[in-house]
């Protein structure tokens, strides 16, 4: 556990909302100046005039209302007595507002001259745990698609400014993916919904509560609520589960349907079949697995539940940890996991079953019988045979229980069943695969939505409460939900009352009769289980900014109980759960401050898998149509199912594989595109299942032939989601319930027109340059002549007077470097999956602006850290290698000597300091930087930040003005803060207490930072590792960042050693 943030302060112990012990922050003062109005006005201005029925007229009337003072009076948060805003609330809020403009936001107006007559607003009553100017850290959590991950959130004077993984959480272990980190941005998102409304009229919360209580009481009395339906996210929250139980007690005939766009339908189906209907999850242990076979499983992608897997896997890619594992991946599109593969087989998604069956057949045991059943569903392509045979041989040669086969969630239950069977046959059950009770007990997925749709169609529903994210957008088009909710298409719509709660006015909210703005999870108390069962307590960091209502409080309204705030409900629930345990108070405090409840891991599943029962899954499987193109739908690495669509950090994050920002595309392999006469950026008409859609085309090397892959989550049309609007196209429009993930029979025809994509990397070849080095471990140990030459170029000594004419500066402890640190970094390419969590971490930590699609299109993206993605080998079936590059802090920095004003200079400890306020912006440094890691503020990218958005800024980092160069600083603000703490305490900095933001969040620990003057530090050892080399070493820049050669562990049977060396790079 890397205890970067060891201060675990702020376990609140009092029990009223007023004593969250957190400063209450809203942009209330801004609200007085009619922020609501402005937002809605903005939305109205941007709303499409052709919008049927729910367009401008509606908003104009709302707008008129918003203009009047009575309205504002009426819509003030109207909590029942006892829940009203605390008396301290206002003052702190006020303080924050003004503070936001001055002290805490130091840096927001960087590079201006000295401001005059600035006001300082001190606290009237300083919260006891807070020292103004110092950060506080709180444990919390984030729930995504049925998994709650543990977070550690940094707050400055009451503003959460950074999200990191909770080091005490068993899955996160300090790491956090892009989604968890970017979650923070959505908290301050000015386009979040803020008006509770019935139809077109704003309503007070009290009115809603009365309405719901009445409705619930009436329904209970009439028929036990048989006409009431709830559509919610999977119930991994114990508190919500308890509320459900209690609602069902009151309304026994009501029904809860669980749906989240990222379903576990098929894997669930498989495990339920194996375990006699029990809800069971498979938990993998990659640390034990010597040979891993992924059947279209992207288990290294950055989804929160994969963070632990990624770390385990990466530890097995480091030759210093023992023999490398070997990863085989069979998949259609290039995924993050596919990029890490030693051997990747490009197959259509529908052919994965054949691969699975062939492997199952070969390993024998229960697998063979299932494989037999699969034989007539799919037959292995002859050119896949050699690959499969090699995999089988490898799996069988490995020690029993030391292999692992993982099936992807897009694959049908049959593939999952086969994978489980193969694991059983290889003796992996109980070693690399463990079956535990699932943290989600109920059925979930599209089947649930289908059941709901049937009920509504049949007129069996009159009240529908939707708490799951935006089902109208996220379900396939043919589900029929939208048509049922839309009065224009459903004549009986009047009989149905729909209540929807969400963070945004989105596609679903426009059909809701009641819309309740939800409290952001960082604004309220909640809990949730991670996929391994561990319960995390998510505490709020801030009072609701936009009057959002917590889901738990909304559900509690159906119970007609005296009002209890979410905090009270949560605490009461857990007090009830720990009945009989002494001193609940202390327990609670430790849970909240640790963020996780110990001992809540899921129990092992009952019994052993019964593969006989699973054969029905295989025999019942209907293979999709072959012929034409196979269409594939995948979740997006950035916006997931679309719920992060309004998150500009994620929209601008380059896709790990395509490096595309602000877009999705129909991805094709080069051959297929050639066959169809399509070029990147062309428009094509997609014809599939009777539906047509025009899509822009992009070509990715390594994509399976005759398949087209489209990411979901784009083409959002939420009313107020300004960022997400009109980005990409909505692939759900052609998706069907029958084949939600892949199907055959699609065609693409070139049509007129083109689409401008914004990519951050357009050239995918290394042009034989020794940049991201990648070779089999055996090649590194016994290098060929070509490899020796390459290694010579990247790591040979630069002799003074021969290759180097500049005398070395003395960075040892001494007069020129009194404190004796020599900062350096090491990046292990063997560990890096390219997940991009570090990019978001850097963006959040360093106040990096988002520039928008147009600016990315002209190569002006601002991310300090980029992940270079190269393909090696043939264009049709290349290998992929990721290389994170940020400023390497050259000791002989080419940027520095060309700066005319000393704006970029070296510190005594070897940092390449960038002094924003001295920079005049000649851009010479960037021109002369061979790594091109410098970023220039071509425009004033932070100019239009609202007061609320400014609260996100890290006050320790200057917000850069236009015309100023910027770049990675090795997180110098962290160094200086830790240094000052250490210096005040008269000690040296401990390696553990100082981590850069990218290093801190990296799930695979690919990034290491520290002082190279200390031989004990990990970074020093990595710099001396035989794999360490310096990027563009031959230029004599002497970088402080070392990259470690990525080593592969190819199966000699598949990859003869000789040609590998030829591709290594140099000539």
């Amino acid at each position: 556990m890397p205890p970067m943030n060891t201060k675990r302060d702020g376990a609140p112990s009092q029990d009223t909302p007023s004593s969250f012990a957190l400063p209450v922050v809203t942009d209330r003062p801004a609200a007085r100046s009619d922020v609501v109005g402005e937002a809605l006005e903005h939305a109205a201005a941007n709303a499409s005039p052709s919008e049927p029925g729910y367009g401008q007229t509606y908003w104009r009337s709302l707008e008129e209302k918003l203009g009047t003072p009575d309205y504002l009076e009426e819509t003030r948060p109207e909590f029942p007595v006892g829940a009203d805003l605390a008396p301290t609330g206002f003052a702190r809020r006020e303080f924050m507002h003004l503070l936001g403009a001055s002290l805490a936001l130091a840096g927001a107006t960087a590079c201006s001259t000295r401001p005059v007559d600035e006001r300082i607003m001190p606290y009237t009553k300083t919260p006891p745990e807070l020292v103004p100017g110092n950060p506080l850290h709180y444990a919390s959590g984030m729930t995504l698609a049925g998994h709650t991950s543990g977070l550690l959130i940094t707050a400055r004077e009451g503003r959460p400014v950074k999200i990191e993984g909770n080091p005490d959480h068993p899955v996160n272990q300090g790491a956090a993916g892009p989604w968890e980190q970017a979650f923070l941005l959505s908290l301050y998102d000015p386009s979040r919904a803020r008006v509770l409304r019935q139809g077109k009229s704003p309503r007070a919360l009290r009115v809603l509560r009365e309405e719901l209580v009445n409705a619930a009481n009436k329904a209970a009395a009439n028929d036990g609520g048989s006409r009431v339906r709830f559509l919610s996210e999977p119930g991994n929250s114990p508190l919500t589960g308890d509320l459900r139980t209690r609602i069902l007690k009151k309304l026994p005939n009501a029904r809860f349907h669980s749906y989240t766009a990222q379903t576990h339908d098929t894997q669930d189906e498989a495990t339920r079949a194996l375990f006699g209907g029990q809800p069971v999850s498979a938990v993998y242990d990659f640390a034990q697995a010597d040979i891993v076979l992924s059947l279209d499983a992207d288990f290294l992608e950055s989804r929160p539940e994969n963070l632990g897997y990624a770390r385990q896997f990466a530890n097995r890619r480091d030759p210093n940890n023992g023999p490398l594992n070997r990863l085989y991946v069979a998949e259609a599109r290039f995924s993050i996991t596919g990029g890490m593969a030693d051997h990747r087989l490009r197959v259509k998604s529908q052919d994965v079953l054949a691969v699975a069956a062939a492997v199952a057949q070969a390993v024998g045991g229960p697998a063979a019988s299932l494989a037999g059943a699969a034989a007539n569903k799919a037959s292995l392509k002859s050119d896949h045979n050699a690959w499969v045979q090699a995999v089988v041989a490898d799996l069988r040669a490995a020690r029993p229980g030391r292999t692992l086969v993982v099936a992807g969630e897009r694959q049908p239950a049959a593939v999952h069943a086969l994978a489980h069977a193969i694991n059983a046959a290889l003796g992996n059950t109980g070693t690399t695969v463990k079956y535990v009770q699932s943290s989600i007990a109920e059925q979930e997925g599209l089947s649930q939505v289908r059941a709901l749709v049937e009920d509504i169609t049949a007129g069996r529903v009159d009240t529908l409460v939707i708490t799951s994210w935006n089902p109208v957008f996220s379900v396939p088009a043919d589900t029929g939900l939208k048509e049922l909710l839309d009065p224009a298409t459903n004549p009986n719509r009047g009989n149905l009352t729909v209540l929807y709660t969400g963070l945004y006015e989105d596609e679903t909210s426009q059909y809701a009769d009641w819309f309740v703005p939800a409290a952001h999870p960082l604004e309220t108390w909640s809990d949730g289980r991670s996929f391994d069962g561990t319960v995390a307590i998510a505490q709020p960091l801030i009072q609701p900014l936009y009057n959002g209502v917590p889901e738990s409080e909304l559900l509690a309204m159906f119970l007609d109980e005296p009002y209890r705030p979410a905090y009270q409900m949560l605490r009461d629930y857990w007090q009830g759960q720990s009945e009989g345990q002494a001193d609940f108070e202390a327990l609670w405090e430790s849970w909240v401050s640790d963020g996780a409840i110990p001992g809540t891991q899921a129990a092992p599943a009952q019994g052993a898998p019964d593969f006989g029962a699973a054969s029905a899954l295989v025999t019942g499987y209907t293979a999709p149509a072959t012929g034409e193109l196979e269409i594939n739908f995948v979740y997006d690495y950035k916006v997931f199912d679309g719920r992060f669509g309004n998150n500009s950090w994620l929209q601008e994050l380059p896709d790990p594989i395509t490096k595309m920002t602000w877009d999705n595309a129909a991805l094709l392999s080069p051959e297929t595109a050639k066959g169809l006469g399509l070029e990147p950026g062309d428009l094509a008409e997609l014809n599939y299942g009777g539906r047509k859609m025009t899509v822009p085309v992009w070509i990715t090397p390594g994509h399976a032939d005759d398949t087209v892959t489209m990411a979901l989550g784009y083409g959002r049309d939420g009313l107020h989601e300004q960022v997400a609007k009109a980005v990409g196209f909505n692939a759900n429009a052609v998706r069907t319930v029958k084949a939600p993930w892949f199907d055959g029979g699609a065609t693409l025809t070139k049509v007129r027109g083109s689409h401008k994509f914004s990519l951050t990397q357009t050239h995918w070849r290394m042009e034989n340059r020794p940049l991201a080095l990648d070779m089999p471990l055996s090649e590194l140990k016994n290098p060929s002549i070509a490899t020796q030459h390459t290694l010579h170029r990247v790591k040979s000594e630069l002799k003074f007077g021969v290759q180097d004419n500049l005398p070395a500066f003395d960075y040892n402890k001494g007069p020129s470097n009194p404190q004796g640190y020599k900062w350096g970094m090491a990046i292990d390419l063997s560990r890096c999956t390219g997940c991009s969590a570090c990019v978001i971490a850097c963006q959040a930590e360093n106040n990096i602006p988002v520039v928008g699609k147009q600016q990315v299109a002209v190569s002006r993206e601002m991310q300090w850290l980029r992940i270079d993605r190269y393909f090696e080998g043939s264009e049709s079936d290349p290998r992929m290698v990721m290389q994170p590059v940020m400023c390497v802090h050259c000791e002989k920095a080419p940027c520095e000597y060309v700066c005319p004003v000393n704006a970029t200079v070296h510190s005594d400890e070897g940092l390449n300091d960038m002094v924003y306020n001295r920079c005049v912006g000649t851009r010479y440094c960037s021109n002369n930087c061979p790594y091109k890691v410098r970023r220039f503020n071509y425009l004033h990218y932070t100019a239009d930040k609202t007061a609320t958005e400014k609260m996100l800024m890290n006050p320790d980092v200057t917000v850069r003005n236009r015309g100023v160069m910027e770049k990675c600083t090795y997180c110098v603000q962290r160094i200086e803060r830790v240094r000052i703490d250490a210096r005040v305490e008269k000690r040296v900095i401990n390696e553990k207490e100082l981590q850069t933001a990218c290093q801190q969040t990296c799930p695979t620990q690919a990034i290491t930072f520290g002082s190279l003057n200390d031989p004990q530090q990990r970074v020093t050892q990595l710099h001396e590792d035989e794999r360490a080399y310096k990027l563009l070493h031959e230029l004599g820049t002497r970088p402080r960042t070392a990259h470690l050669i990525r080593v592969r562990n190819p199966n000699p049977a598949l990859e003869p050693a000789a040609p590998a060396a030829a591709n290594q790079g140099s000539h």
Partner: protein, 479 residues
């Protein structure tokens, strides 16, 4: 553009005259000052209007840039410099010809310089003014550009003298200052002549103010002659040093395509090349408009074409050497830049245009027919100007757009603001130049008179018209 009758009667083998023989001091004075007193013609006003509208574009472009930021240009992450520095180098290069004509030819006592030196110096001055705009504008925060000057600030910080940009600041400001001084010192006697032949009190006062009270005193001439010669002597190494320093902007960096030791001579040659071309481009219409065919004769033009040929060959040699060194070093990055990126990359069209204009075009001047045909040389000179602009584009944009890491390669596309600022500087140049033509003697009158006298002496001594042409061998100073 046919030639005037006054020169066509010469035997083609005979050297052409430097000053048409039918002038004395008074008529020279009249001819050369005529355009100052005359009301400008329609053509002048038309050109002036055109220049002013282009200047308007500059104002719009610059205002917009200052208001929004450099982002309104096409510059981006790999291509940090583009039109801004291309135009800077291009204008500085053009400026250099003026100084060279004026100073180097003076030092080498090339008599034919006298008719065109004022003209060329003015061109230098205005071109350097246009050039000087760009280093200022191209900074992200031009309001802090004064930080490049060493002054005792409250920050306690200084400029960084290892940076070629600081060298540039010193070089360009020195160059502008010295050029202005050189030009002004040369102008003083002519301003006095203007003052003394002025017809109104206002004219007399204004020209009198600028003439500083010059009376043509022998004691003044005594110091003046040596001062002017010394300024010329200083300007010569200065002009070489300025373009050397401009080339250091590139040569000192480590970018493939920039990092080359041949840059200083190659840049200086290129500057002279483009500068002489610009002189031709401007002087052909100007001498027609000003009626100066008698003092700016065909011989001047032919000599300039010879210089263009020579420098064009030098520039071609520079290209050749760049490619040769890239091949000889077998440096992977250099090879890519010179043999893949330039010739076949995204900007290959510009590259081949550059080759056509800079390598092929000057070779037509091997032929006397081309050297003496006004139409051909005018078109060729414009081609060279375009070619030299392309050269800077190739050096700057192409090298930047594809450097070491293929991951960060990018494409540069100019925006309307880029174009309007470029065209705007042409307008600024044109405006200043037309004002110069209107208000200041475009030919150094005192020098022409002196030359006239010398030529007459020589003719008298040799009793032959040959001497009119051979007068170049006469010394300039006292016998």
């Amino acid at each position: 553009m046919a030639e005037t009758a006054s020169t066509t009667y010469h035997d083609p083998l005979e050297p052409r005259p430097l000053v048409a023989p039918h002038h004395d001091d008074a008529t020279l004075n009249e001819t050369l000052l005529d355009h100052v007193w005359r009301k400008p013609g329609k053509g002048w006003f038309m050109l002036f209007g055109l220049s002013l509208s282009a200047l308007g574009l500059l104002v719009i472009g610059v205002t917009y840039t200052l208001a929004r930021g450099i982002g309104v240009w096409g510059n981006n992450q790999p291509v940090g410099w583009a039109f801004d520095i291309i135009n800077f180098v291009w204008w500085v290069g053009i400026g250099h010809a003026g100084t060279l004509i004026s100073a180097i030819l003076l030092l080498f006592q090339q008599k034919w310089r006298t008719s065109i030196n004022r003209f060329a110096e003015a061109m230098t001055l205005f071109a350097v003014m246009c050039a000087g705009l760009f280093p200022l504008l191209h900074t992200g925060r031009p309001w802090f550009a004064f930080w490049l000057f060493p002054y005792p600030s409250t920050l306690g910080a200084w400029p960084q003298f290892r940076s070629p940009l600081v060298w540039d600041v010193f070089a360009i400001s020195t160059y502008l200052t010295v050029s202005a001084l050189f030009w002004f010192v040369g102008l003083i006697p002519d301003l006095a002549a203007l003052r003394d032949s002025s017809k109104t009190k206002l004219q007399r006062t204004i020209y009198g103010l600028f003439a500083l009270g010059w009376r043509g005193s022998g004691r003044h001439w005594h110091n003046y002659k040596i001062a002017y010669l010394l300024l010329a002597g200083l300007s010569t190494p200065l002009v070489v040093s300025v373009h050397t320093i401009v080339s250091f902007d590139f040569a000192v960096s480590l970018l493939p395509g920039w990092h080359a030791t041949i840059f200083p001579p190659y840049f200086v040659a290129g500057a002279v090349f483009s500068g002489f071309a610009m002189v031709i481009t401007l002087i052909i219409p100007a001498r027609k408009y000003l009626g100066l065919r008698d003092v700016i004769t065909d011989r001047h033009l032919e000599n300039m074409n010879k210089v263009i040929l020579a420098t064009g060959l030098l520039v071609s040699y520079g290209y050749l050497m760049e490619h040769f060194v890239a091949w000889y070093s077998q440096n992977q990055y250099e090879l890519w830049t010179f043999y893949v990126n330039r010739a076949t990359g995204p900007y290959a069209g510009v590259y081949w245009l550059m080759i056509a204009c800079n390598v092929i075009t000057p070779n037509i001047f091997w032929f006397k027919k081309c050297r003496t045909n006004i139409a051909i040389m005018w078109v060729a000179s414009i081609a060279v100007n375009i070619g030299m602009w392309c050269e800077r584009f190739i050096i700057i944009v192409t090298s930047l757009s594809q450097d070491f890491l293929p991951s960060s390669w990018g494409i540069y596309t100019p925006t309307w603001v880029d174009w309007s600022i470029y065209i705007g500087t042409l307008g600024l140049f044109g405006t200043l130049f037309l004002l110069f033509l209107k208000f200041v003697p475009a030919v150094a009158i005192s020098e022409v008179k002196e030359l006239q006298l010398e030529l007459k002496h020589a003719a008298h001594q040799h009793g032959s018209d040959d001497a009119l042409a051979g007068a170049g061998t006469l010394t300039h100073g006292a016998h």
